[in-house]
């Protein structure tokens, strides 16, 4: 039977590295992918995650195994990735050729009821989102990754980032808005294109 997190942590607390192996097998991929989306650089993301596991080994005695391990560990990785991203402050420039795909992408990203075909996004689309993501401030990038990749709720983001829920709402919103802004900028350099808003309710009663 597969070892539970609780059993793995108990073993690790007894300095049995097999416990660490179990946790790494279970969480390393999700952790490094989250870190990668935040720092935008694979070697750096791998460094962040490996550091997190080394630190986990050193501080595991402080962890209360009654608490869920996964969210706790991912929170730690995301915070480390945020620090790394702030040190790194990526800058990526966009060129004219990238603007063509952006307008439809804006609609995709702002449509709350996308159809399945729309969701099957192309490699071009992914590349544009990647570049727009890179233009966000690191904290906004974390907000996007936590909300839309890790699937955190605002409450969980609030706990993770130690910010009030209101701040989280604002952070997610501004991140989304800036993301849209960069994609709009891609599509229309003169900023004349307004992104399509989410479905508005009819004013009819």
């Amino acid at each position: 039977m597969e070892e539970t997190d609780f059993q793995a942590i108990t073993r690790l607390k007894r300095s049995d590295l097999a416990g660490l192996d179990t946790l790494m097998i279970r969480y390393q991929l999700r952790a490094v992918r989250a870190a990668y989306l935040i720092v935008g650089d694979r070697p750096l993301a791998e460094d962040v995650v490996q550091d997190a596991f080394v630190r986990l080994h050193q501080t595991i005695h402080q962890f209360d195994e009654a608490r869920p391990f996964g969210p706790w560990f991912l929170r730690s990785v995301v915070n480390d990735a945020l620090k790394a991203a702030k040190r790194q402050q990526r800058q990526i420039s966009l060129d004219e050729a990238e603007r063509a795909q952006a307008a439809s992408l804006i609609e995709t990203l702002t449509d709350p009821h996308p159809d399945p075909e729309t969701l099957a996004v192309s490699a071009e689309t992914r590349r544009e989102v990647w570049q727009a993501l890179a233009r966000l401030a690191p904290e906004q990038r974390v907000a996007i990754v936590q909300r839309y990749y890790l699937g955190y709720s605002e409450a969980e983001m609030s706990a993770s980032l130690q910010r009030p829920t209101g701040t989280i709402k604002w952070l997610v919103h501004t991140a989304r808005r800036r993301l849209r802004h960069w994609l709009v900028a891609l599509a229309a350099p003169d900023s004349s294109v307004e992104p399509k808003r989410g479905a508005k309710r009819s004013s009819e009663p």
Binding site: L17, V32, R126, A137, Q162, W170, R201
Partner: protein, 636 residues
């Protein structure tokens, strides 16, 4: 559950960048081996490079302390000592306990068309604080979190020697001191958070005693050659469903160090800043602070409110006549003025409802140039890197100002930079020129906790009361401060509900309406139609920080924006039912070891016909879930 369009794209991007086959086990094991080798060689390595000589010395000092402490607790003897023979803490038999429920709690029937009482300001202008929330020296020195005596002043009020920090940590300043004849507390605060130093004669009843859980890790610490004990965390109940249940949470954001010296007992608490804009202390850092206590402490920094000038004194220094607004929202009281020579500016501070509360409205005026938004933008750093806090800027028309409009900057601003460096709570500002003078009005956004805030309409009214050119009718609707539930209902395009059962002692304070196309704000993402209703009770604690027990009801029409399933993914919720609709309930309670106060935040969320209903309750103690559901089910 519906996915946001970004979700699959992010998953694709992550899979493109990181293949599923990655495995770092060997690399991590190699790193562990390397770190073991370094530890055996006695190396103290840090990734961050420090070049400043004082920092190197400090790091070296901390390293020695760290190694000493690590040696102590890493030996079997050290750990046994740390875990079993507690000198300065007591253990409870469990890692949970109950905060009592709020008492008395009674639900009464109210009209679904509640209006703000005409006498609302008078209702709570002079609250009666709970006596246990006040420190004995409250009259002379205030209570936490706004103690206002100097260390020298409080030293004359007690029969024991009072000590403070020989050097105040960078980014912090002395806030003040207060306490009683047996125990006093000196408070320091700043961007890193707050330090509280409690001190009193050892041997008597221990007012600093803090009960810890059955499994809290207590670490031995050396303070000079004295033994001390160090813990991290506190009692909190984040996401525990049982009303009032709290458990011990280990967290580096709350650290406690206790020790005795020369017949005196000391407790040093560190509360990290929630904005994360300063480095944390750690066990060694706190021990280093503890080892430098002195009877002749540093006293840099402003003691709150002691620095205020009268308007006349400020006018003398500035050389120009100071004007006061002819109109302010009800409840604001002038606290005092300061003079900022670099701007030849004067700042007037107004507190809301309670004179002891920190000012929430500031008016800067100068005969010099108008400060720019950049001048008042918050400068924050994290790990040495500047943090960009976005500022929203608008240009509203204001009667009488030059050239007809002002600049309204929201979020990420603070008037501290142009008011002599005094930190304030303001986070929105209106800047304008009039009659050869420059003005900046600072206020706070509505946090729905009862503290003073200014709506955009009110900021305009204040400005126009200074220019004398009123452009708004006296009865103009203010969507950010609606004084009637019925008005909120009439504005919204969806069916707004209001409770017909409410906790006794609570009254309708105000409502807020945001149409679908309103710009996003601190509390809302935009793209939704929102109605907020705020009901207030009594002040929390001694009332000095201006917060009130509150019941906040948010109603959001935003089809497809969020589902209950998405919310539940955050964890910590339990399922509930509101009139047969699935709902989620969550409660977070916590205890403050310094002030000995408790607080509970509860939330109940459900959806009906694409409207999201959320009731947030903030009380000093827990509200039974069935009472919260009763309020929810009474909404009509």
């Amino acid at each position: 559950m519906k996915n946001h369009p970004l979700t699959p794209i992010l998953h694709d991007l992550a899979e493109d960048g990181i293949p599923a086959e990655v495995d770092y086990r060997a690399a991590v094991r190699a790193r562990l081996e390397t770190s073991k080798t370094h530890a055996n060689q006695g190396a103290f390595s840090m990734k961050t490079s420090f070049t400043h000589p004082r920092r190197i010395a400090a790091i070296a000092f901390l390293a020695v302390l760290l190694l000493m402490a690590a040696a102590l607790v890493s030996t079997p003897q050290g750990q046994a000592w740390a875990q079993t023979v507690l000198r300065f803490f007591t253990r409870s038999e469990s890692n949970t306990h109950l905060i009592p429920t709020q008492d008395p709690l009674t639900l009464i029937e109210v009209s679904p068309a509640e209006e703000t009482p005409a006498q609302a300001e008078q209702l709570i202008v002079t609250p009666t604080p709970r006596p246990e929330a006040l420190l004995p020296f409250n009259d002379a020195c205030g209570s936490l979190p706004y103690p206002r005596c100097t260390i020298e002043q409080i030293g004359k009020m007690v029969d024991f020697p009072v000590k403070g920090l020989a050097a105040i940590p960078e980014g912090m300043e002395l806030t003040g001191a207060s306490g009683g004849t047996e125990n006093i507390i000196v408070m320091y605060a700043g961007s890193r958070g707050a330090l509280y130093l409690a001190q009193g004669p050892a041997g008597s009843d221990d007012p600093q005693l803090f009960e810890i859980s059955s499994d809290t890790l207590v670490e031995a610490v050396s303070i000079g050659n004295l033994p001390g004990e160090y813990i991290q965390g506190g009692w909190s109940g984040l996401g525990i469903s049982e009303a009032g249940l709290v458990r011990w949470e280990t967290h580096e954001g709350i650290q406690t160090l206790r020790w005795e010296q020369d017949g005196m007992r000391y407790t040093l608490w560190f509360y990290a800043s929630k904005t994360g804009d300063g480095p944390l202390f750690d066990k060694s850092g706190l021990a280093a602070l503890a080892s430098q206590l002195t009877a002749k402490p540093a006293s840099s920094g402003a003691i709150s409110q002691a620095a205020y000038l009268t308007i006349e004194q400020a006018a003398t220094r500035s050389g120009f006549a100071i004007v006061e607004p002819a109109w302010l929202p009800a409840g604001y009281l002038l606290a005092g003025a300061t003079y900022a020579p670099e701007w030849n500016g004067v700042c007037l501070y107004y507190s809301y409802r309670l004179e002891a509360a920190a000012p929430t409205l500031t008016l800067f005026q100068s005969n010099g140039q108008l400060p720019s938004v950049e001048d008042i933008k918050i400068k924050q750093f994290y790990n040495g890197q500047p943090i960009d806090i976005p500022v929203s800027i608008a240009a509203p028309e204001i009667g009488g100002v030059e050239p007809g409009y002002a600049l309204l900057a929201s979020n990420g601003v603070n008037l501290g930079a142009i008011c002599g460096g005094i930190e304030m709570t303001t986070n929105k500002a209106l800047l304008w020129r009039f009659n050869g003078m420059s003005f900046v009005l600072g206020a706070v956004v509505d946090n729905f906790n009862g503290r003073g805030f200014l709506s955009d309409v009110e900021m305009r009214r204040v400005a126009e009361s200074l220019t004398g050119v009123a452009t708004l009718p006296a009865d103009a609707l203010d969507p950010e401060r609606l004084n009637s539930v019925e008005v909120a209902k009439s504005l919204a395009g969806f069916e707004v509900k209001s409770p017909t059962l409410m906790l006794a002692g609570f009254y309708f304070d105000h409502g807020v309406y945001y149409p679908n196309d309103a710009p996003p704000g601190f509390w809302r993402s935009g793209g939704s139609e929102d109605v907020y209703l705020l009901y207030l009770g009594s002040p929390i604690g001694d009332g000095s920080d201006g917060r009130y027990a509150s019941i906040f009801i948010a109603q959001t029409f935003a089809p497809g924006q969020q589902t209950l399933d998405e919310l539940a993914m955050g964890g910590g919720y339990e399922t509930a039912s509101v009139n047969g609709q699935a709902a989620l309930h969550r409660q977070d309670c916590w205890e403050d070891p310094v002030t000995r106060t408790t607080a509970c935040y509860q939330t109940l969320t459900w959806f009906v016909d694409d409207v999201r209903y959320e009731i947030d309750v903030f009380l000093e103690k827990a509200l039974p879930k069935d009472m919260l559901i009763a309020i929810a089910e009474s909404m009509k």
